[in-house]
Amino acid sequence: MVAKITYYLAIMLIIGVIIGLVIGINIPRGVAPTETITVTVTTTVPQPTVGPLSIAVIYVTPIEEPWNKALHMAMMWAQENLGIKYTYVEKISEADVDRVIRSYVDAGYRIIFPHSWGYWSTTIRVASEFPNILFCQGSGPTDQPWPNNVVLYDYYIQDAAYLAGYVAGLITQTNKVGVITAFPVADVNNLVNAFIKGAKDANPKVTPYIIYIESWFDPTKAKAAALSLIAEGVDVIYSERFGVEYAADEHYKSTGKRVYVVGNIVNQNEAAPDVVIGSVVWDLRPFVSYIITNYMAGTLKGGIINWTMKEGWSRFVWNFKLLEKGVIPPEVFTKVSIIEQKLITGEIKVEQVWEDPRKIWLTGT
């Protein structure tokens, strides 16, 4: 048996060597791909629209994902109120984005939003090629040489997350606060850290629980993870990823006990009005409007957008239904409102902490 496997492996080795050598070595090596060559591209695609400013957004996943939805909603709003033409395409893999951007450029789109981290290197390359076109890159490394026609933005909504954490710290009964999140990476850590810090500031006895579902969008996994947190006695969960609402809602309907959920990125209060206490909302409308008006006026500069609550970049949106019903005590609301004011005026500043929250908060427990 072993001898035979070795024999097969040898055959494979030979095949591999032959193919590799024949192809790999004898080929003239071209110029390694460079990032700064500009070419003129002939357009064969007829312009689909004439007139208003056309903006194209490229999403990596279906628009149902909150990260996409936030921008999608802002764009839909802009289309109605600012008179732009908005087109989007979803489910574009990182390998294809190059082609997609080029075809949008060819079709006459002036502003392009590659709305995913995975697109950043392509954006740098293509943006250098088309200096006349504005690229708004949704998240990317801050230490890269971004061309002048790129605006880099990311969901730096840590102050709203801090506020949500504060709420959680105030209303938790069991002193157990959970977070369902995607991956332990910088941008996500930023939010998780802010949330836990908020909770600890409000209530130092709080124990945080963090679960990574290792996926950007997987509601079942998030739901199953949330159920495990609920079983553990956690009574406020920050749904950094979508799907926790279902679990809490189900739990409420079957047992009558409320496990509060904080939505993230978009207003998820409607997903389960009985249990969602409020949402950390990434409101991109001011941003989109800022981009469009400045672009029209010719005053837009590339760079990294680092806005806070003050600019309307992030908000904590209460679920007023719960407030009206008195489920959330009014004193919590007033307390939080004071903190919110302090955040807006800059009295309290929430630092961006990129480190793994498990290392910061879970040590010693």
């Binding site: 080795l13 110029v31 390694a32 460079t34 075809s103 949008y104 060819d106």
Partner: protein, 359 residues
């Protein structure tokens, strides 16, 4: 219908009809495409123009389409070999993933040591790993007589989980937000034909050279003949003195090797890093291409270019006219169903209506 039977009598060749089936299937697929454009209220000529522009109408589109076609064709070439031998290797997807993983690891670990030998070495290793991944179901089939469809299918998922683990664990780029590996070193980038477009020499050469090579192997060598006989009947193959087990293993290993090579091309020529996004269902699209291409390398070549054009062109149409993406996949399914239905239908008609000689 009568004319059709006349055609059968005129030419008792299944081959011609199989080609006809492929053409008809493509035609039906196109008709459905047009129909769906119409249903989405898009000017049909404008829509078709956009599909053309997105697939072959611009330099960049040509480059992208051919690039995709090379990877699909490579997988398909391998599948031709195993399908001809009657081994239903559904696991090209997994073999492709393993090839991609192998080449990434080689490029990342040995990138700075090897210089010019990096590309060939990475390719060799990914070919070997792809082949080894295919060898497992092959051995299970030969030694324990376990259905290869089930095992290859399961191996796909295992490969996918290995990929997912590697990009969130050992291979992950620590500075990245996403589960992905760092970029492979520059010297591992496959040399491009025109520097700003991603189409590279290696892919193009493989696309063009392998088709006649496979054709010669299948049509003109004794090995190809034994594959065909094995695919027709195992008993006949045994009767003819063919070592059935060895031939099965070799066929599935070759298909795995080529799928692994496709994975390497995807990493070194397209993505330049390992990420879950390399999994795009190419293994399954490869099956579609193999069958639409009538188990013939030139057919596969054409079909892969056609399929890549459709994927790119439809994607462009979708993005410009705001049609839901997914149309390309629907067409794939329709191609597959129609082409095999028609082939079986033709075969049935031939067996039923054509003359039997000697009675």
């Amino acid at each position: 219908m009568k004319v059709f039977f006349k055609i059968i009598k005129w030419r008792e060749k299944l081959g011609v009809l199989n080609v006809l089936a492929s053409i008809l299937a493509v035609g039906i697929g196109m008709a459905i495409l047009v129909l769906s454009l119409y249903m989405c209220q898009i000017n049909i000529s404008l829509g078709l123009q956009t599909i053309y522009a997105g697939s072959l109408g611009r330099y960049n589109s040509i480059s992208e389409t051919l690039l995709r076609a090379t990877i699909l064709a490579l997988i398909s070439y391998g599948l031709i070999i195993s399908f001809t031998a009657g081994v239903w290797n559904i696991g090209a997807e997994g073999q492709y993933i393993m090839g991609a993983i192998a080449s990434t690891i080689v490029c990342l670990t040995l990138g700075n040591i090897l210089g010019y030998f990096l590309i060939p070495l990475a390719m060799i290793i990914s070919v070997i790993i792809g082949a080894a991944w295919a060898l497992i179901p092959g051995l299970l089939l030969v030694k324990l007589n376990i259905n290869e469809v089930l095992t290859t299918l399961m191996m796909n998922y295992i490969a996918q989980y290995i990929l997912s683990w590697l990009v969130t664990g050992p291979l992950q780029d620590k500075t990245s937000m996403f589960p992905e590996s760092p970029y492979i070193p520059k010297q591992a980038f496959l040399p491009r034909i025109i520097p700003i477009y991603r189409l590279n020499y290696v892919s193009l050469i493989l696309l063009i050279l392998l088709a006649p090579l496979i054709h010669i192997v299948l049509g003109k060598t004794w090995f190809g003949l034994s594959l065909k006989i094995l695919g027709s009947s195992k008993r006949t193959a045994r009767y003819a003195g063919i070592n059935v087990n060895r031939t099965i293993i070799i066929s599935i290993v070759i298909s795995g090797a080529l799928a692994g090579l496709a994975g390497a091309l995807e990493i070194m020529g397209v993505q330049y890093k390992l990420r879950p996004g390399i999994v795009q269902g190419y293994g399954y699209t490869g099956i579609v291409i193999t069958l639409v291409g009538n188990l013939h390398p030139y057919g596969a070549l054409l079909a892969s270019v056609l399929m890549a054009s459709l994927i790119n062109g439809i994607s462009e149409t979708c993005q410009l006219f705001q049609i839901p993406i997914g149309l390309a996949q629907i067409l794939q399914g329709i191609f597959l169903i129609t082409v095999i239905s028609l082939r079986f239908l033709f075969r049935f008609l031939i067996e039923k209506y054509s003359k039997v000689y000697g009675e």
